[in-house]
């Protein structure tokens, strides 16, 4: 025997290390395979309690194996097993229902309140855009075609007669085409909103432009109607869903601006960390924006052509706006009051 003494003993002890722990690893693997496929409540209480114990045992085996064993297949196995366990145990800790509930009660309004400054800027830009659009079309009606794409204008332009314009506002209770148009507008507005949000990372410049442009379109359309003395009526027609929709688009722009400004001025964080932080707040706002837009699409598809009284239209539009503002900005105080 020419080998140094103890070589066989090392081999034996490492073999018994694996032999003793192997059952735990196998049990952990089987348990993980089950919980990854089905809900945790299908486990018995004992199994649920054993999960973190088995995880820690796998981690400790990994540490021992790394320090003493040179079997790379074994170490790879333990690393993969521990990683799976880590992601499961430290991953999503709450059920999807709780997370959805939390989103509506807390996360969404909080994220929107967090963006209050950007929201004001965004609303301000929409107003400025609307005034500019109104003024441009009033000074030269050729601006209208430049501002509103013909496919969106739906036959409304400065040369339309008052009757045609009025018919768009009040007719169509029987027309099915318009409900399809509402769905199209929903997807269109959602894309405008996504664009305003997602392009924000270029230092917020595109977001600002998109919000301005959106305001311009509003102002241009308004001028066409106001010139024919239909301004009040158009306001009603727009406001039934427009308060929700415009608010949503303004919020999307605010979300984009938040990302852009945080990347430009990260403060004490690194640029990457600041972007990640702003991105998460903005994304929460954006999911809410999607839902607002869906809601606006429903209001538009159902309400706009069937409710033809101006007063009712203004009431619904104003009511919706009040509802959103109360939900986002006032709800917090009520909850604080209740403790």
């Amino acid at each position: 025997m020419t080998l140094p003494a103890g070589t066989d003993a090392v081999r034996q002890s490492l073999a018994s290390f694996r032999h003793e722990r192997e059952a735990d690893w196998k049990a952990f693997e089987a348990l993980l395979a089950r919980v990854e496929n089905r809900a945790p409540r299908t486990l018995s209480e004992d199994e649920l309690l054993s999960l973190p114990l088995l995880y820690r045992s796998a981690l400790s085996s990994l540490s021992v194996a790394r320090a003493t064993s040179l079997d790379s297949a074994l170490i790879a196995y333990l690393e993969a097993l521990s990683l799976r366990g880590y992601f499961y145990l430290y991953g999503a800790r709450r059920s999807l229902r709780q997370r959805v509930g939390d989103f509506f009660l807390r996360d969404w309004p909080a994220a929107i309140r967090d963006l209050w400054r950007e929201t004001w800027v965004s609303v301000g830009l929409t107003v400025i855009g609307a005034i500019a659009g109104y003024w441009l079309v009033a000074s030269d009606k050729r601006w209208y075609d430049a501002i509103i794409a013909p496919s969106l204008a739906g036959g409304r332009n400065p040369d339309s007669s008052a009757e045609v314009l009025r018919s768009v506002l009040y007719d169509g209770g029987s027309s099915h085409f318009l409900s399809g148009f509402a769905a199209y507008l929903f997807t269109h507005n959602t894309q405008v909103a996504i664009l305003a949000f997602a392009l924000g990372f270029v230092f917020a410049v595109p977001s600002v432009l998109i919000i301005l442009m959106n305001g311009c379109m509003l102002g241009a359309l308004f001028q066409v109607y106001a010139a024919k003395g239909l301004g009040l009526e158009l306001g009603g027609w727009l406001s039934i869903h427009g308060t929700t929709e415009l608010f949503a688009i303004a919020l999307a722009g605010a979300a984009g601006m938040r990302i852009g400004t945080r990347i430009a001025f990260p403060g004490e964080l690194t640029r990457m960390a600041a972007a990640a932080q702003a991105g998460r707040v903005a994304a929460t706002v954006m999911v809410g924006v999607m839902m607002m837009l869906l809601f606006a699409g429903l209001l538009e598809g159902i309400g706009r052509q069937t409710i033809t009284s101006d007063a009712a239209r203004y009431a619904i539009g104003g009511g919706m706006l009040a509802l959103w503002i109360a939900y986002f900005y006032l709800f917090r105080m009520v909850r604080h009051g209740n403790g």
Binding site: L3, A15, E22, E29, A73, R84, L96, A276, M286
Partner: protein, 287 residues
């Protein structure tokens, strides 16, 4: 451009609260692309299937009756694309079916649990990275107003954003950047036999002196393990010849496997003994 020639470049530390470094491996660009393409195939297949069912199922209906369903269809297609990624990545596996097939998942860069707003952020950005320019091109093409310039612009846009992950160390999309996430590999290994415990009646014939065992280090041991596990006759013959020449042992070709198994067992025990004594001999050049 950072290419991943060296796999170690993609390994990042992940320290668990228990203090163990799990060393996650980031998914490389090719894996990401194939996962994404699989997802696109699934989404398109689902959209076509639903459309066909709707068309055949409602063949009897007139245009007027079918109109409300048309709205539902438009919204469905939109939601399919947007919800698919978010719903799957917010689930327990944090991976879409495409990612699951290629064996990767989304994880938080901070090491904490992945939250739903991170998943939303990274997937909303995908809309602008890929889907938006392509759908604009498609829409313009459909309306017959697509000119070369805007098509090229759209394609360059989509390409630039899709290739963004090649230009940074951590393989981040813009969406990953904003959400604070990355995509890591979740390999699944089976527990395989310990080669040093393999009992081969022939390998009792082989005995190695300490000098012969000092010829190699841990890196070579792992290569040898790979060769043995692959169990390819010609590879083992070649390796046995090289080792035999280096340590001065005569090996018959038909004995290659037995010789390598015996040498692996003894070399590993030798190196593990050194390891216990505090000497990690990294490769054959180390002392």
């Amino acid at each position: 451009m950072a290419t991943a020639r060296n796999p170690a470049e993609l390994i990042r530390p992940l320290i668990t609260p228990e203090g163990v470094d799990l060393r996650v491996k980031l998914a490389d660009a090719g894996t990401r692309a194939s996962a994404f393409l699989l997802d696109v195939v699934i989404i398109v297949a689902a959209a076509i299937a639903v459309t066909l069912v709707v068309i055949f199922g409602l063949g009897g209906l007139g245009v007027k009756e079918a109109e409300p369903l048309f709205i539902v269809w438009i919204i469905f297609i939109f939601l399919l694309r947007n919800v698919y990624f978010i719903a799957f990545e917010a689930g327990r596996r944090a991976a879409t079916p495409g990612k699951r097939i290629v064996g990767v998942r989304v994880a938080s860069r901070s090491g904490a649990g992945l939250t739903i707003d991170q998943v939303i952020a990274r997937n909303l950005m995908r809309e602008i990275e890929v889907f938006l320019p392509l759908s604009i091109i498609a829409a313009r093409g459909g309306a017959g107003v697509a000119d070369t310039l805007s098509t090229v612009f759209g394609l360059v846009w989509a390409l630039l954003f899709s290739l963004f992950l090649l230009f940074n160390r951590d393989r981040l999309r813009i969406g990953d950047l904003l959400a604070g996430t990355w995509v890591v590999e979740t390999p699944k290994f089976k527990l395989v036999e310990d080669l040093s415990q393999r009992k081969d009646p022939v390998d009792k014939r082989f005995h190695f002196s300490p000098e012969q065992l000092d010829a190699y280090g841990i890196a070579e041991l792992h290569k040898l393990e790979e060769v043995l596990r692959r169990d390819d006759y010609s590879a083992m013959k070649a390796v046995a010849e090289i080792i035999g020449r280096k340590i001065g042992a005569k090996v018959e070709p038909f004995d290659s496997k037995a010789f390598l198994t015996a040498y692996y067992g003894d070399l590993r025990a030798h190196l593990e003994r050194k390891l216990l004594l505090g000497n990690r001999k990294a490769d054959k050049h180390a002392r």
